[in-house]
Symmetry: C2
Subunit: 306 residues, 2 copies
């Protein structure tokens, strides 16, 4: 494939950045990949496994002369990082991020991006429950959407180039309004995560059912929630602190509907339950047809012999 | 392996019964497997794919001379079925069921089981989102728990034989008190399913986010919920109608905790969120260590090329 950037700087070397490193290499999309992370430990691991062409100790060094800078750190850390790298950005470079929330990141980062540098916020809708520099793999973005939310004044060429990079990593790219992104993600990601965390918390708290029972008998549905609730606590704290309004709106709708179903259970209204449970199947079919999930039973989990 | 029953009658030929048929055959556990289902269509499919040794048109015929009778139909259908087969059960035979709720099934079935027939209610904690006679497979019960809830007066020999059957199909077997079963399952299965159905319903209902957006951007967490919410509506209606009390108790705890987290989001209490999200990871580790789920990212879902 074509090289799209001479030098890419990855700020943060966790799941997303390490997956990008693998995918850019596979596609020959970057001339040089320079990486950095907050801790010496992560930088050491990155060096050991040869994740980047070069691992440097500071973000300022990493962005020097980079054509593309990717902020791949928790949402709550974006502002300080933007302030730190702002003065070192090369004129004409593009800055992007991969944060799961967009309004807060735009507000935090944009003020620190100097004139002549393009800021194109982004979000790959792909992830796993694992984190850190060893968790990345080149296929993570394959057939998944990456949403870019550039403002109306951004030049076309840098947007097209960044789009080509994500496509080169296997992603489908869409652009969207910042606020709409945060609402859509509150529905498809943030609220589901909060609910999963809550369900696992409830199970953990119960006195009358032990943790060991919960663990043994988890295959009946619960274990799916525990995967989601095993995601990185820092990342998710930052998501909820930074997408308050939309999450609270969707949570309000959620509790409203939950109360209606709860009432149907209490009053024994089987018809309402049946109709509700029937209606929700169509969305699943849509997701499988759109290639966004597999139809193999239980996601095709490997069956582990005792 | 050893043949444990000369003749097994499967009443209902859906996911669970068809998986049992495959698993019993693999293990040579039954001399003859006789099956029946409500609809001519299902019986025809079962004949076509050779699911049983014999498919008969009525439950009365199926249970005649059977040493083990398995009720593998929705919980709400158990009472009528028990009334229908009661007079035809062979003295000394064992009747079991696979219903997801136990108190209601015991109350519905026990009165119709004649003296001299052993009734041992059961529940395999294994399933998928698919249903019907074609959805079964021999490995479904592998390394999963089956819970038996015999009452204190049941003879040991029939319990041991039924235990051996489930073990021969790959399951781990435990016995438990009827009420405790229903509470444990309310936590590990029933409430998670209701929550998943609700979340998918909310997403489907929203005006400001289209169904097509929900589908496209589902990989960020939501799609996991849609798999659970794709399960059979009849089965789940019956579960909630028949495990009211325990489900409502756990739902009460759930909304309580959800409100606490909602409040933490509203007030920006990052510490509380972080602590909560950290605590829930331990249960996931326990489940993976106990062999009840895989640690492969995203359950090891196949990555589908566009
Ligand atoms: N995981 C997902 O499913 C997913 C999906 C889409 C988008 N995202 C977004 O992608 C971003 C990165 O997530 P990830 O999953 O790649 O996380 P990760 O695996 O936990 O890695 C996070 C990286 O950020 C660094 N970091 C953490 N706190 C920092 C701070 N205060 N200042 C500077 N660097 C800091 C970490 O450095 P050390 O290793 O040295 O601690 C690490 O290299 C987040 O904004 C997240 O919202 C995540
Ligand atoms: N699916 C799971 O994950 C799971 C796990 C553990 C336990 N269970 C329990 O196992 C039982 C069967 O579930 P399944 O998943 O095997 O269901 P399924 O695939 O939907 O099959 C249900 C079977 O029951 C028959 N049936 C439905 N309504 C009936 C009625 N009113 N009278 C007589 N027969 C009727 C159906 O006959 P037709 O095909 O002719 O309609 C079909 O053969 C349920 O009690 C469920 O709670 C399910």
């Amino acid at each position: 494939m074509t090289q799209l950037y001479d030098r890419v700087a990855l700020i943060g070397l966790g799941l997303i950045a390490s997956s990008m490193a693998h995918a850019m290499r596979r596609g020959g999309l970057a001339g040089e990949i320079v990486g950095t992370a907050r801790s010496a430990e992560t930088r050491e691991i990155a060096r050991e496994i040869g994740l980047c062409d070069r691992v440097v100790d500071t973000a300022a060094e990493a962005v020097a002369d980079a054509d593309l800078v990717v902020l791949a750190i928790p949402v709550g850390a974006m502002e300080d990082m933007a302030r730190e790298i702002g003065p070192h950005l090369k004129p004409g470079a593009t800055v992007t991020d991969v944060g799961s929330v967009k309004r807060a990141v735009v507000d935090a980062v944009a003020p620190h991006v100097p004139e002549g540098v393009h800021f194109i916020p982004g979000h790959p809708l792909a992830g796993t429950e694992h984190s850190g520099p060893r968790s990345g793999f080149a296929e993570l973005f394959e057939n998944r959407f990456t949403i870019l939310v550039p403002d109306g004044n951004t030049a076309m060429e840098p947007i097209e180039r960044l789009t080509a990079l994500w496509q080169g990593m296997g992603a489908l790219v869409e652009t969207m309004d910042v606020e709409h992104h945060d609402l859509v993600l509150a529905v498809t990601s943030h609220t589901p995560h909060l609910i999963a965390y809550t369900m696992v918390g409830v199970a953990d708290d119960l006195r009358r059912v032990t943790d060991s029972e919960v663990i043994k008998y988890s295959a009946a549905g619960f274990r799916d929630f525990t995967r989601i609730a095993a995601s990185d606590p820092t990342m998710w704290r930052d998501v909820f602190l930074n997408n308050k309004e939309a999450t609270l709106e969707i949570l309000g709708r959620f509790t409203e509907e939950l109360f209606a179903l709860q009432r149907a259970i209490r009053t024994g209204d089987g018809e309402q339950l049946f109709d509700y449970f029937t209606r929700t199947r169509a969305i699943r079919r849509g997701i499988v047809e759109a290639g966004q999930d597999t139809d193999v039973p239980n996601f095709g989990r490997p069956v582990k012999k005792p």
